[in-house]
Symmetry: C2
Subunit: 331 residues, 2 copies
């Protein structure tokens, strides 16, 4: 009888960590689970495969009995504990952005570049949530038409800022004076066109991620992306309005067929019958919904397309993608 693998979730009590636990269970991982978090959360108890698992404090010695780790911590912490895990031979799938653009670290969406997983040196980075949703939506179109340029406006859920973001929205909807703990301004009945800090060109970190991470995963260093990232008062699904300009002329019906057959996508595109992607429908779903597909009539060359897509930011945008990488690693 084979020995059961031991999987650690680091940052187990946050929104993404909790979703990772749920995804492992749903995807029938028959493993020992180790839950790690700060001393503040140690002692909390969660259920995995009908067994109680107690959260342990993350320390340098946490990884002695671990085979793989899923990381759901902020960058600073990730930079600290991932070397501890690697030193014990533990391979880490990390959801922070600390290592995403490191050339020694593959950045992977399993539907897009699973072959990059093999090149890992102990770390595989999980991409930014908005980037995952856009790239899954666009991948079949990119393979067929070769995307040169993307203009993206996002509608990003408060869950992108974790449990605090969700609480801010819920509290502020009840009481407009409830404090802002996750965002610079109230988010109830509001939009905030800032996700991450801005550089001197007025472009936010989140906006750069879409270009830089997409270039890396598509192995397409010339890709041009202009992105405006906006936080909206939605709980947990991100939506994106995307315009793409391609090398080849696009065909709307073919584009629809490509997306309907694509991995990780579901076509929701019959607007005259009120069928289109909406974030409420993708909540707690792993698939990216794609619709509103139409020719961009402002490009006379016929090589541009507009579409709208939605995906659950905590699932496919974070936890599910990491667990899918782990599945491929273990195979």
């Amino acid at each position: 009888m084979e020995k059961k693998l031991t999987i650690a979730i680091v940052g187990a009590t946050g929104a993404v960590g909790q979703q990772m636990l749920q995804c492992l269970e749903e995807r029938q991982f028959d493993v020992n689970l180790k839950l790690l978090a700060s001393s503040r959360s140690a002692g909390k108890v969660f259920t995995f495969n009908n067994q109680k698992v107690t959260v342990k404090e993350l320390t340098e010695n946490s990884f002695d009995d671990v085979d793989y780790a899923l990381g759901a911590t902020e960058n600073d912490l990730a930079k600290k504990w991932i070397p501890w895990a690697n030193a014990k031979g533990v391979v880490v799938v990390d959801n922070s952005s600390a290592f995403r653009l490191d050339e020694n670290v593959p950045l992977v969406i399993p539907e897009i570049n699973p072959e990059d997983i093999k090149k890992h040196n102990g770390i595989i980075a999980n991409p930014n949530c908005a980037t995952i949703i856009a790239m899954v939506a666009l991948h079949e179109l990119h393979k067929e038409y070769h995307i040169k340029r993307m203009i993206v406006s996002t509608y990003q859920a408060v869950s992108g800022a974790g449990v605090k973001g969700i609480q801010d929205l819920e509290n502020q909807l009840k009481d407009p004076d409830a404090p802002c703990t996750a965002f610079p301004y109230p988010i109830a009945y509001n939009l905030i066109p800032q996700i991450g800090d801005f550089d001197e060109n007025g472009i936010s970190k989140e906006e750069w991620k879409m270009q830089n991470e997409a270039r890396k995963m598509w192995h397409h260093p010339d890709l041009l992306v202009n992105c405006t990232c906006v936080r909206v008062p939605i709980l947990r699904s991100h939506s994106e309005s995307i315009f793409i300009e391609c090398e080849k002329e696009v065909d709307v019906n073919q584009a629809r067929e490509l997306i309907s057959k694509g991995q990780g996508t579901i076509l929701k595109d019959d607007p005259q019958n009120k069928v289109y992607p909406m974030p409420l429908d993708t909540t707690d779903q792993d698939l990216v919904y794609v619709g509103r597909i139409r020719k961009d009539l402002t490009d006379p060359t016929g090589r541009s397309l507009a579409l709208f897509c939605c995906g659950d930011q905590i699932r496919k945008g974070a936890a599910t993608n990491a667990v899918q990488i782990l599945e491929k690693l273990i195979q």
Copy 2:
């Protein structure tokens, strides 16, 4: 002593009609006010300049004693009553879309094409709300750089669907099963990428308005606009993420200065210090807030710019603009 003018508001009990009343009062119109609505609303009483005004039922004879009328009714009704008003010599500023593209009817934003008011034949059309907000934001840039192409993604408040839209959001936030009276799907915690019906190309009526109305007001028949209109769970300000491609090379600092000096706009653009337009800030304001101005780095010619703008949909997007037209008419 001059005789006081009599101004009628037709559709006086809706969200836009009520805002028209408030705008007339704020802008110190010393006039007799006549409030007209359906028989259902007749008898309701509102206060204007400290006097009670009782809503009367709209009939063919409603305009005998009227000088000017502000229209805040749906298209079907507008087509019915505006001829009654015109037959009595009453000039109408109409907020419906029934006459906007009629070549005998000027379509006007006073900051943009006030000279067109003079060409009226009894009707002046008030533009679509999202179009007004975008064009006010862009007008100075258009004068300087000549906009060829716009790619717009909107974030439109529920007030665009009137009082019912506001009630749907408020009710559904309290009870997710509250009925949808204004929208095809629940809007609380959701986005709906549909505003207006779709044509066979998958483009909605609201999306066409941005191109067709902008072409008319800028007298720019070659303007190309690709627009994705999305309803968001916000009460009454519309926001828009806009990319423009111009004839001339753009300069970000000059663009900021043009907007800061422009009519109807206020520059909110210091993202590193968390200054950018947000719909909560523009609620109940007449100015359009513009920020997030940056070069579109995906256009190697340097002729493209990205920005984000917000404006109160009921005020500048509807009632204020109509009252401003009326001011010019009376002058």
